[in-house]
Amino acid sequence: MSDLLEQLVHGLTLGSLYAMVATGLALMFGVVRLVNFAHGEFYMLGGYAFWYAYAELGLPYPVAGLAAAAAMGVFGLAYERGVIRSILARTWHVQLIATLATSITLTNLAILVFGTQPKEVPTTLSSTIADVGGVRMAWQRPLVLVAAVIIFAGLEWFVTRAKLGKAMRAMSQNREACAVVGVDVQRVALATFGISAALAGGAAALVSPLFNIFPDVGALLTLKAFAAVIVGGFGYVRGAIAAAFLIGLAESLAAGYVSYAYKDAIAFVVMVAVLLVRPQGLFGRRIGI
């Protein structure tokens, strides 16, 4: 029984990670209709930024975590200006190949700079074990879950109340109409990339103490987060979050009870199964994020 509970806790940690990455993907797709194949690499770079701030500079954990998120936010802005802006008007083929090319470049640059040896960043919370009624887990895991809930609540508030968030929602529904009524669509797109990349950086700062950081972590992560976006109904953020937790739980249960070696195939199996039954995703298609 405690075994099952432990697997569920692991699944929720994974789900939080996938949800934070998937939210970024869904926001980008919702606002500018672009799928960022390099999103997993944002998480990877966020992990290295966190490692640098925490292990090399010796900053306290909360500061290092926020620094990693902020650094990735700035990276997201630069990415929008440097790569995305020149391809937004092009066909989806061009967009897809350009972001895929970015992902390959970033992965291999990371190998050159940091090497293939994984970086371990244990924190006090990830190395002390909590024992809750026989269920043993690192304190970092509840922290990840709580932080994820706070982040999603903050995001929900942001897109429903803040002016920029409202503009993002409006743009995801009708870009032309937004431009007509004077929304600065370029600035909103820029902000969306900043926020999405910062979310990936924040996710990296939260889970890196539990999982190691290595250069090619990104490809599988992009795939799983994208599977969550598809299963959740394309571009619908809440659906993506729910689907990400579903995939995280399925993966951790499969790793515990079916086969550890094939756990990475689960997200894909879930995606194909859902698509065969409900091509529009579990939560249906709706307009906007």
């Binding site: 897809l96 390959i104 599988l220 990475d264 894909f268």
Partner: protein, 315 residues
């Protein structure tokens, strides 16, 4: 005049092993090795372009089809002792069947989702090849794959493999030309350029996408079979996603949807590492940047430069 040019060109290509032996006696083996890779990569890139360039479906599943064909033939040859003449069709058929089976759920996806779904399929295939150790020998690799033997004709020397590669790229080139030029080719392009209009003209998009996907997958499986019969060893690393990136660089470098462009791209791409001569990691960084620049600045590739006129390609 045209026929003469073709005959001379073909004679030159067939005579390459002797020309190489006369021109660079010391490095003959090395040059032929590069040429064999160029020919096999050219055939693989053509089969990939059939899907990406002609029906406009950005599949990333090609490493999986290549690997499935290669593993089928390699395991049949080493474990069951099938002759090459039976293992090659088995590799082609298996890759084609898997493409058919995967195409059904995959083509429910459109655009990005299709790309991501096929990428997922490629990753899962590699995971299976790595972890199903009892069957594929996993990271220990399948070794001792026999050289091809057709009756009394045994392909074992480098010039023989060169002619095999040449015949492969020639055959695939003819198939590519035949499929993309006539009525079928026009249907492919209709589906690529305007799906709605194509369906209105009773050209069923799914049907033509499936045709291209299955044929492309089967050919990739065949090339995989020939590739392992040349190299002699098959490891799960051959199925890596980076193969898709290499193929994308080739077809975009040369020119999407053009026979000449794809072959030029494959030749330039295989020559590139020999010119660059640096660590594979640096190479991938350069490929990534190259692909990024080409796709943003010159989406028609070298073919666009050769033609000097805007292409109608939708990619």
């Amino acid at each position: 005049m045209r026929a003469v040019r073709w005959t001379v060109g073909a004679a030159f290509l067939v005579a390459v092993p002797w020309i190489v032996a006369a021109a660079v006696p010391g490095q003959q083996r090395y040059v032929l090795h590069v040429l064999i890779f160029t020919a096999l990569y050219g055939a693989l890139a053509l089969s990939y372009d059939l899907i990406v360039g002609h029906v406009g479906s950005l599949s990333l599943a090609h490493p999986a089809f290549f690997g499935i064909g290669a593993y089928t033939a390699a395991l049949l040859a080493t474990e069951v002792g099938w002759p090459f003449a039976a293992a090659l069709p088995a590799g082609i058929a298996m890759a084609g069947l898997v493409a058919l089976a995967m195409g059904v759920p995959m083509f429910r996806l459109t655009e990005h989702s299709f790309a991501m779904g096929t990428l997922g399929f490629a990753l899962v295939t590699q995971i299976v090849a790595t972890n199903w150790v009892d069957f594929t020998r996993g990271p220990l690799c399948v070794t001792g794959i026999p050289k091809p033997q057709l009756g009394s004709l045994r392909i074992a020397t480098l010039p023989a493999f060169y002619w095999m590669g040449l015949a492969t790229v020639g055959g695939v080139g003819l198939l590519y030309h035949g499929l993309t030029t006539f009525r079928l080719g026009r249907a492919f392009h209709a589906v690529r350029d305007n799906e709605t209009l194509a369906s209105a003209a009773s050209i069923h998009p799914l049907k033509y996408r499936m045709i291209a996907f299955v044929i492309g997958g089967a050919v990739a499986g065949g090339v995989g079979t020939l590739y392992v019969s040349y190299v002699g060893v098959l490891c799960p690393g051959e199925l890596a996603v980076s193969l898709s990136v290499n193929l994308l660089v080739m077809i975009f470098l040369g020119g999407v949807g053009s026979l000449r462009g794809v072959l030029v791209g494959a030749a330039a791409f295989t020559a590139l590492p020999e010119i660059l001569r640096m660590a594979p990691t640096w190479r991938m960084v350069i490929y990534g940047l190259l692909l990024l620049i080409i796709v943003i600045r010159a989406p028609d590739g070298l073919e666009g430069v050769i033609r000097r006129r805007p292409s109608s390609s939708g990619a």
